[in-house]
């Protein structure tokens, strides 16, 4: 089990260890099965790199974000306007609100989470109450007829409270970064303890 660390990307085993491994590798027939010592093809290595990058890029909480109370604040403000009051049916009222609400940073989320006048009526008082308390509406999630504090645990704010805003990065990702890094290091060590891939076993010895 001697280690050799002068060229770790080539091999981490010394000559004696490698010779021993080669001897066993060539001298044994494992139920009539042999194994080669090829490296992972380069194209596949790039595919794995792409997979790891994609894994992080595609799972940001931003994709599939739940509706926050903030995205409906402008709608609620328009509800009691004379123009909306003048419209007879709910469908028409909602269309007017969607069309005339100011285009803000929540436009795409409003499009992804459409709702009816009845939905809006159910959350109206709750949103107004939150606005009265002067809290950040992005920290509240709309779940059906309820507006509730979002289930996120972000960094601590200046007032000592935990931020409840949906982050684009959270500690789950941080754990993942370390997890993937440890995995890569561990597998690299396991593989570099094998004889270098430039050596291929001679299968005629045991077979």
């Amino acid at each position: 089990m001697a280690w050799k660390l002068d060229n770790p990307l080539y091999s981490m085993a010394d000559e004696e260890q490698n010779n021993k491994a080669k001897h066993v590798w060539e001298g044994e027939s494992l139920g009539g099965i042999a194994e080669d010592n090829n490296r992972l093809p380069q194209a596949v290595v790039w595919l794995l790199v792409l997979t790891v990058l994609t894994a992080f890029a595609i799972t940001f909480p931003l994709w599939g974000k739940r509706p926050t109370a903030a995205i409906y604040a402008d709608y609620i403000q328009l509800m009691d306007s004379p123009q909306v009051q003048a419209i007879a049916d709910d469908k028409g009222k909602m269309e007017y609100i969607v069309k005339n609400a100011p285009v803000g940073p929540h436009k795409s989320e409003q499009d992804r989470h459409p709702l009816t006048m009845d939905d809006l009526r159910m959350i109206k008082d709750q949103v107004i109450e939150l606005q009265r308390k002067n809290v950040d509406l992005e920290e509240y999630t709309v779940i059906g007829d309820k507006v509730v504090l979002a289930n996120f645990e972000g960094p601590i704010k200046e007032n000592g409270e935990v931020m409840r805003k949906q982050p684009w990065w959270d500690k789950g990702y941080t754990i993942d970064v370390f997890y993937v890094a440890y995995f890569c290091i561990a597998v690299l060590i396991v593989i570099k303890r094998l004889p270098h891939y430039s050596w291929q076993p001679d299968h005629s010895v045991a077979h």
Binding site: E28, I33, N37, V44, L194
Partner: protein, 468 residues
Amino acid sequence: MLKYLFARNEDIPPGTAAVFFGFSSIIWFVIGTGLGSFNAAKLAFPDFVMGSELFSFGHMRQVHVFAVIFGWISMAFAMAMMYITPALGNTKLWSEKLGVWNCFLWNVGLSLGLTLLWAGITSGREYSDFPWPIDLYIAAFIALPLAINVWMTIIKRRTQGIYTTNWFFGAGVFMVTIVFIVGNSPEWFNLTGLSEAYLTWWFAHNVLGLWITPVAAAIAYYTVPKVTGNPLYSHRIGHLHFWSVVVFYSTPAAHHLMSAPLPEWLKSFASVEGVLILVPAIAFVSNLLLTMQGKWHMFVENVEIKFTISGVLLAIPLNMQGGFQQTRAINWYVHGTGWIVAHAHLALLGFSTFLEGAAVYYGIQTLLRRKLYSLALANFHFWFLLIGFAIYWISMTIAGLIQGAGKIYEVPYIDVVIAEHPYMIARWVGGTMVFTGNIVWLYNMYMTARAGTEIPEGRLPHELAYER
């Protein structure tokens, strides 16, 4: 079987336990897919078999699920372990007698468990539906004896090295024992709410990830080099595959609960790990397909390779779906729809069934020293299985997309039911084709045992020409 239960270990011919497991698995596959066809008929034709709650979908569904997971898939795994583990160690199975008892108790316990499920006595948790006495029985008389036999055979091997397949077998029986005991703990400790939900899906996810996927892959690592005669392309990639299964498949359970009030960071963590399931998949598929170099004609000519490589190729869409469907954006759309049912069948009826099928075909011929009775019937089985599965998978995927749209756009439920009706009929047709193919398979293997051409000493089944 009964005469071997009380025979001395030395008097039981090598391979006996494997043959019993092999035939048990095929019989359970016929029963399991028959139940699947029945259940699919109920969804396609709602008036089919009315009047008894025993035949209602709610009673029958889990009987189908458990017949195929515990009966077909896991018993086929046990069969493969009983003959491949000793073969790779140039030794005998540690205890044929334990293997025979294991098979006997497995059939008894599963029959009892399925009867209870059929009667509506369940724990109420999906994929861990068995009530706790059956869970204890499974741990004590099914999982543990299998694990002991596999570990002891590996320990008592006559080789210095351990081939890749046996890493997966040894680790698989260890991991599934832990997963089974911990995953069923909510019932023992009366856990409720999120703890129960999380552990339920931790179990369901890891039965797939740490039992079915790695053990099915282990079989392919044996079948392809053994039958083609090619060396495994890379021992090194085997390491990457093994460790990435252990690391990345054991962690993403929370991605089954993306809409539940679990901590968001846990979902983020699980979701990244969920995509990283592609790492072992890429390693596995590339290693096996590169091992096939120069032997691709066997994909057409040889039954075991046809099954194995089909299973390996199905791992590609399986992991592409599995990796991405759990991300927040896509899960929002497909969660709770037929898409997931299609995906589960891609894993169990597609990927893993084709790999296990190869192991059972190869094992029964090798152990009984009988060449396959009929290649024509084996091809019939293959194509009915493949086409039937494809019809099922495609129709349920489309039905799932319709249901997803209906869910998101709040289409009235009955309109969604009407829209997906043709796909429910297609599902039934596909499932029934699989069932039909399996009846033919059972007949073919029975006839192989009874009337297959004897394989001379020193020869392997795939070296001889087919006669029928």
